[in-house]
Symmetry: C2
Subunit: 234 residues, 2 copies
């Protein structure tokens, strides 16, 4: 007997990862891009991607791609959208599921990065990307803006310890607009999710800025009690 589904066609399935990082010094969001080392589109810029294997789920495939590229596991990652246009890949029909990931730039070893042909690219200077990767990036950016408004995912882009100035710079980079310093601090501090540390960041000012740490457990507890994170500010 034929297999139940044998009359239906099969398709290649890829995953592509939109990987964001935040450059604290330059106060800029960055995107991790790959200089392709294989056909088609050899030498062109693309997102990190790979084909889904028979023995792995979609999520596993995305993790594998991300992990192979960065040497990091346990990153923040989320499925974004699946692109299924017939001719999106000129090589063959490939359906691709895009994932977006947030990583601390400092966590990614530059040696590993270089050896994989990956480069951090400012959002304002994204080169032409292959296929529909630009569409993926644009969708991911929109999603990022919406996410950081109501979920505390921005912290994934910062080191464990960060200053309020850095956090505000991050939000300004994502929102692409200035936000009011006092209102921003008032709002984030009123949520009681940040723990003030006993040391200061002393690189960027004489006075120094207090380090804070995001308390994940507190967030989870508050959430169970109906709390909603919100960092929409003027």
């Amino acid at each position: 007997m034929n297999h139940l589904y044998s009359k239906y066609p099969k398709h290649f399935h890829a995953v592509d990862c939109i990987i964001f990082g935040f450059d604290i010094a330059e106060k800029e969001l960055k995107l991790l891009l790959i200089k392709r080392s294989f056909e088609p589109a050899l030498g062109e810029w693309s997102l990190a991607g790979g084909f889904v294997r028979e023995d792995e789920s979609l999520d596993d495939a995305a993790c594998r791609v991300l992990c192979t590229l960065t040497g990091l596991s346990e990153l923040y990652m989320e499925q974004l959208y699946t692109y299924g246009e017939i001719s999106r890949d000129p090589g063959a029909r490939v359906i691709s599921t895009a994932y977006f990931a947030l990583i601390g730039i400092h966590e990614l070893d530059p040696e590993i990065r270089k050896s994989n042909g990956a480069y951090w690219c400012s959002l304002s200077e994204i080169p032409d990307l292959i296929f529909d990767h630009r569409k993926m990036v644009d969708r991911a950016l929109k999603e990022l803006v919406e996410k950081v408004k109501v979920y505390p995912v921005g912290f994934e882009l910062l080191p464990e310890k960060f200053t309020l100035v850095q956090l505000q710079n991050l939000y300004e980079a994502i929102y692409q607009r200035q936000v009011d310093k006092r209102n921003f601090r008032k709002k984030i501090l009123s949520m009681n999710l940040l723990e003030k540390q006993e040391d200061k960041e002393r690189e960027t000012s004489k006075k120094g800025a207090w380090y804070y740490r995001f308390n994940e457990e507190k967030y989870k507890e508050l959430t169970r009690n109906g709390f909603f994170f919100n960092l929409v500010v003027s």
Copy 2:
């Protein structure tokens, strides 16, 4: 020469549609479910689905499934999520992209519905569904709640002309809680998106309730000028 991608595996790819309707009389959200007429899981309840063909995009496949089932085109539909667990379908590995659709119950011809083995099912009485379809429904419900808060998509579930009471009933069904009548009306009317008609709905009360119509053009125009729809009410 082998094809570029020939070393990679291919996969079956399905689409599944979560189709919501709103029963005005019963003030209840409903889900369109299929009694399966084929293996595997013959006789069990499932979402409307189908395999993606070689000559159609994912979106096209979802439209085809929806159109075949309902006889309707031009429905509100949106990609929801792609489910890629290896063993989600016991018949074979099938990756499935879920779409959610909103339709006016009144628009669906009962004859067409029945002939396709489809039934409207109250949200409170969803039977066991095959595979991971219940997960899909749950995700779609969450998405629906978030969507109607900030986009005027609820109107897709109502006829062209509807009363404010009906609109409020719809929101109450989606939010699964009561909302304040005066605040609800104040808020929706203050957006200037509804046009009061000259006739009344006279089935449910002696007094009759004015019909309104959603003005799509006005919405688009306001949106261009930075307006944001918002119908979060107490």
